[in-house]
């Protein structure tokens, strides 16, 4: 008799990949600004200081994994003020599937959280229509089809665009945690 138990985790690439050495796990960090990206042992990706409105950070991973479910969690700095609304965009195989931004037009000090969930329905069709964004966030939905390479390389890219801290404040940071990927 054989007994088989599937992984109790959501996938081979889960939040632990973000909480430890993400670079060793294949994530490529591309930073066009003056900010730094580190790996906080508790909270995951920590993006610190120096972002301007034209600055962009990309986190890219190539994978042959079968992407069925992707969950991302973002948190902005506490008590920050922004001159512009920071944005996050998620690309699958270079197709933008979701963009979310924080509505901070009032320049009031507050923080925001976002959960982004992407579900895959049929083999070549991702549905992007389940997104939970919380606290002052605006979400743009994109619909369409992403081609998934069955035997080749698939790419997920997460772009951050916007400031990490309030004007003149350089000690704030973003966290991106809770990546789950099947």
């Amino acid at each position: 008799m054989i007994t088989y138990k599937p992984s109790s985790r959501l996938g081979a690439l889960n939040e632990e990949d973000f909480k430890s050495d993400a670079t060793a796990r294949g994530w490529i960090v591309s930073n066009t600004g003056g900010s730094t990206v580190s790996y906080d042992g508790t909270n995951g990706f920590k993006i610190t200081t120096g972002l301007s409105t034209t600055t962009n950070i990309s986190l890219t991973n190539n994978t042959t994994k079968f992407m069925q479910y992707l969950s991302l969690y973002f948190r902005t700095p506490s008590g920050s003020r922004y001159a512009t609304s920071p944005k996050i965009a998620v690309y699958l195989n270079e197709v933008k599937v979701v963009e979310a931004s924080f509505d901070l037009a009032g320049n009031t000090a507050y923080e925001g959280e976002m959960n982004i969930n992407i579900f895959k329905s049929t083999p070549n069709d991702y549905k992007y229509n389940y997104i939970v964004a919380q606290q002052n966030s605006i979400v743009t939905y994109y619909s369409g089809t992403v081609n998934v390479n069955s035997n080749g390389t698939n790419v997920i890219r997460i772009d951050f665009d916007g400031r990490t801290g309030s004007d003149g404040v350089t000690t704030q940071y973003w966290y991106m945690t809770n990546l789950k990927w099947v």
Binding site: M1, I2, K5, P6, S7, L13, E16, D17, F66, V148
Partner: protein, 208 residues
């Protein structure tokens, strides 16, 4: 009268103590190992352990791997996703080997032993790798007569439909990527088919 450790049983057959103990998870001892897995084959030697009944293999790392029994391992061996676990009962093998395509992971291995020797151990295995397309394809175990404990895992990247001893159609048993099916059967030919335009790799372990 059925032989000890041999399944399936027929009405009127008796169960042996070793079978009942295994069913209820009652063992005399448990030996545990960790196997560091890389892109080169590595193994754990359990040949010196007496009265092996059950073998548990769990991939505790974050990288998928492949494992084999009593042979060196290649990436054509049995697929074991990160976090997954397989338990082989009523078997007695001397080595567990594993490999990754790239990167590293760890296998936690437990060997459960009984209080005395018994007959009916499964000591043979065959591993098949089936490349499924949108036309039915099949592969067969070399042994065509023994009942086998069979583990079938869809490595991906698309769903496949499985048939036993018959041409596969999309009405067959559906396995999503990374899902598995276990069965004990005397059917020795396994067929698979994908949806139109898709392909998948199916990893099949038979123990007997």
């Amino acid at each position: 009268m059925a032989t000890e450790g041999v399944f399936p049983k027929a009405d009127g057959d008796k169960f042996y103590g070793s079978e009942i103990n295994s069913f209820f998870g009652s063992y005399a001892d448990v030996k545990t190992y960790n196997l560091a897995v890389t892109d080169s084959t590595a193994n754990v030697d359990i040949s010196a352990i007496n009265y092996k009944y059950t073998l548990l293999i769990r991939n505790i790392g974050f990288t998928d791997c492949y494992f084999d029994l009593d042979d060196s391992c290649a990436t054509t061996c049995q697929f074991l996703p990160a976090g997954a676990e397989v338990i082989l009962n009523n078997c007695s093998f001397d080595y567990v080997s594993a490999i990754t395509s790239s990167g590293t992971t760890t296998l936690s291995i437990a060997v459960f032993t009984g209080v005395s020797d018994k007959i009916g151990y499964k000591t043979n295995k065959e591993i098949l790798t089936l490349s499924a397309t949108d036309a039915s394809s099949e592969d067969s175990f070399t042994d065509t007569t023994a009942y086998k404990d069979i583990l079938i895992t869809n490595v991906g990247a698309y769903e496949v439909y499985i048939a036993f001893g018959a041409t596969a159609t999309t009405a067959g048993f559906r396995l999503e990527p990374r899902e598995s099916l276990v069965v004990n059967t005397v059917k020795y030919q396994i067929a698979a088919i994908c949806n139109t335009g898709e392909t998948a790799t199916v990893s099949i372990l038979g123990v007997y």
